[in-house]
C-alpha cells in the first residue's frame, strides 16, 4: 500500500513539475514578445519626441514669411500639445496622426513662399522632419510586426489559457486609420 502511495505522489510531483516548466516556458515566451513590442514602441517614441522638438522651430521659421496662415500654425500647435499630453498609446497614435496631417498642411502652405523655400534654416528643418517622418514610418512597421507576433502568441491554443491567467492583453497595431493621414494634402489659395 505504502509503495503505491509513494508512486502516485511521485507521479503527481513529476506531472506538476512538467506542467510548471511548460507554463514557465510559455510565460517567458509571451513576456519576451511583449518586451520586443514595447522596445519597438520606444523606438517610435524617440522619433515622435524628436518631431515634437522640431515643430516649434519650424513654426517660428515659417511664421516669419507666411504671416497670414494663422489657422495652420494653430492647428500644428494644438496637435502637438495633444500628442505630448497623450495618456495612452492609443491616444497618442490618434494625436500623432493629427500632427502629421497638420504638418503636411504647413509644408503645403510653405510651397507658396519662394523666399521661405530658399531659407537655409527652413531647408534644414524640412530635411530633419522628412527624415523623422521616415523613421517613424519604418519604426512603425517594426512595431506592428512585433505586436502581431505577440498577439498571435496570446491567441493560439494552449498558450491563450495561460495568457488569460497572467493577464497578457492584446496590443493594438499602429495603423494609419484616418483617411486624412494617407492622402496628400491640398492647399487652397
Amino acid at each position: 500500500m505504502g509503495g503505491l502511495l509513494v508512486i502516485v505522489v511521485l507521479g503527481l510531483v513529476v506531472l506538476l513539475v512538467v506542467f510548471g516548466l511548460w507554463a514557465i516556458g510559455i510565460y517567458n515566451g509571451l513576456q519576451r514578445k511583449r518586451i520586443g513590442a514595447q522596445t519597438a514602441w520606444s523606438d517610435i517614441d524617440v522619433q515622435l519626441k524628436r518631431r515634437h522638438d522640431l515643430v516649434p522651430n519650424l513654426v517660428n521659421t515659417v511664421k516669419g514669411y507666411a504671416t497670414h496662415e494663422k489657422g495652420v500654425f494653430e492647428n500644428v500647435a494644438t496637435a502637438r500639445s495633444a500628442a505630448m499630453g497623450a495618456q495612452s498609446i492609443d491616444q497618442q497614435i490618434a494625436a500623432e496622426g493629427q500632427l502629421s496631417a497638420a504638418l503636411g498642411r504647413l509644408f503645403a502652405v510653405a510651397e507658396a513662399y519662394p523666399e521661405l523655400k530658399a531659407n537655409q534654416n527652413f531647408l534644414a528643418l524640412q530635411e530633419e522632419l522628412t527624415s523623422t517622418e521616415n523613421k517613424i514610418g519604418f519604426a512603425r512597421t517594426n512595431y506592428n510586426r512585433n505586436v502581431a507576433q505577440f498577439n498571435e502568441a496570446t491567441l493560439v491554443f494552449p498558450a491563450n489559457i495561460l495568457a488569460g491567467m497572467f493577464g497578457f492583453q492584446q496590443m493594438k497595431l499602429y495603423e494609419l486609420d484616418s483617411v486624412d493621414e494617407r492622402k496628400v494634402p491640398t492647399v487652397q489659395f
Binding site: 523613421k135 512603425r140 512597421t141
Partner: protein, 343 residues
C-alpha cells in the same frame, strides 16, 4: 508632406508609410543569403590557406632546385608550414583590418553627422528600416559616380560614396543607393567581398614573388647541375610548381568574379524591400549609367565592391550596359528592367 514621385532636388518624399514590397525571388530570403555568404567566407579562408600552403611547397621546391631528395623533403615541409602560418596571419589581418585597408586603398575618409546631415539621416532611416546598426559613413573625394560597403559584419560595417555621386543624386536616389549598400551589409556580402579583395590581393602578391624566385632564383647556379642527373620527379615538381604559380592569380581572379553578379540583383531587390520605393534606385542607376567618368583611384582588387564597375575600360566603352563574362557587374539596363518590374 507633398509626395513627389519625380524626385525633387532637395526635399524627397516620405517613404516610411508606403506598403511593403516583396522584391526577393520567391524562393530566397535574406537569411538564406546570409547563411550562404558565411559558408562561402569560411570556404574562402580555408581554400586560400590551402592554396598558400601548396604554393609555399611549390616555392620551396623551386628554391631548392627540387633535385636532391635529402634536402627537398624538409624544405618542402618548412615551406608548407611557413606558408600556412602566413595564411593564418593574413586571414586574421584580413578579418580585422581588411575593411580599413580597403577604405584607405579607395581613398575614403570618415565623416560625421554635421558634415552631411542629410546623408546621415538617410543612413539612420535605412538602419531603422533594416533593423541593423548604423554603419560608419565615408566620403571618397572623386568626381566619378560610385559607392560601396565593406566590413566583416553589420556591427562593423562602413559605407563609402564618391563626392561626385553624393552631389548628383536627389534625396530619393541617394536613399536608393544607400539602401543597396545596406542590403550588401545585411546579406553579409561585405564579409565575403572584403575577404576576397584582401586575400586575393595577397595571393596575387605571393604568386608574383614565386615567379621572381622561379626566374631569378638559385636554379641557374651550380646546384642545378646536380639535378641534371636525371631525376624525373624533380622535373614534374618544377612543372607542377610553375603551373600553380601561373594558375594562382587566375584562380583568385575567377573566384572574385564569380561572387559578384547575382548578388547585385539581390542587393537591388533588398534595397526595394527596405525603402519600398524602386523609383529612387532606378533614377540613381540611370545617372550612374550615363556617367562616362572612371574612378581615379581604383585598385583592381576592389572592383567587385562598387555599385557599378569603376574601371576605365568598362566605363569608357560604355559597357555598363553590355554583358560580358569578365565583367564583375551585371548590365545596368538589366538591373533597371528588373527594378521596373517591381513598381
Amino acid at each position: 508632406m507633398p509626395d513627389s514621385d519625380g524626385g525633387s532636388v532637395d526635399g524627397g518624399a516620405v517613404h516610411g508609410d508606403r506598403p511593403p514590397i516583396r522584391a526577393y525571388p520567391a524562393n530566397i530570403t535574406y537569411r538564406d543569403l546570409i547563411a550562404e555568404n558565411r559558408r562561402k567566407s569560411g570556404v574562402l579562408v580555408g581554400g586560400m590557406i590551402a592554396l598558400l600552403i601548396v604554393m609555399g611547397v611549390a616555392i620551396a621546391a623551386l628554391a631548392t632546385g627540387a633535385g636532391r631528395g635529402d634536402v627537398v623533403v624538409p624544405a618542402l615541409i618548412t615551406g608548407g608550414i611557413a606558408a600556412g602560418v602566413v595564411g593564418v596571419l593574413v586571414s586574421v589581418w584580413s578579418w580585422y583590418g581588411g575593411a580599413n585597408a580597403i577604405l584607405s586603398m579607395a581613398g575614403a575618409r570618415e565623416i560625421e553627422k554635421r558634415d552631411d546631415p542629410q546623408l546621415f539621416n538617410i543612413m539612420e532611416e535605412l538602419a531603422i528600416a533594416a533593423g541593423l546598426p548604423m554603419p560608419k559613413v565615408y566620403l571618397i573625394d572623386d568626381p566619378s559616380l560610385n559607392a560601396f560597403a565593406t566590413g566583416r559584419d553589420p556591427e562593423h560595417a562602413a559605407v563609402a560614396i564618391t563626392t561626385g555621386l553624393r552631389e548628383r543624386l536627389s534625396r530619393d536616389e541617394l536613399t536608393g543607393v544607400m539602401a543597396h549598400e545596406m542590403s550588401h551589409i545585411r546579406h553579409f556580402d561585405i564579409r565575403l567581398s572584403m575577404l576576397m579583395a584582401t586575400l586575393a590581393g595577397v595571393i596575387v602578391f605571393a604568386a608574383d614573388a614565386a615567379r621572381r624566385i622561379a626566374f631569378y632564383g638559385p636554379r641557374g647556379s651550380s646546384r642545378s647541375n646536380n639535378s641534371k642527373g636525371g631525376n624525373p620527379l624533380a622535373l614534374i615538381i618544377i612543372v607542377l610548381a610553375i603551373i600553380l604559380i601561373v594558375l594562382a592569380p587566375i584562380i583568385a581572379t575567377v573566384l572574385r568574379l564569380a561572387i559578384s553578379r547575382q548578388r547585385e540583383y539581390l542587393a537591388d531587390a533588398g534595397a526595394v524591400e527596405i525603402t519600398r520605393y524602386p523609383q529612387g534606385l532606378i533614377g540613381a542607376l540611370d545617372k550612374l549609367g550615363n556617367c562616362r567618368q572612371p574612378l581615379r583611384v581604383v585598385n583592381d582588387a576592389l572592383t567587385p565592391l562598387y555599385i557599378v564597375n569603376p574601371l576605365k575600360k568598362a566605363v569608357e566603352a560604355g559597357r555598363h550596359n553590355a554583358s560580358s563574362m569578365f565583367l564583375t557587374h551585371p548590365p545596368l539596363a538589366e538591373r533597371i528592367e528588373r527594378l521596373r518590374a517591381l513598381m
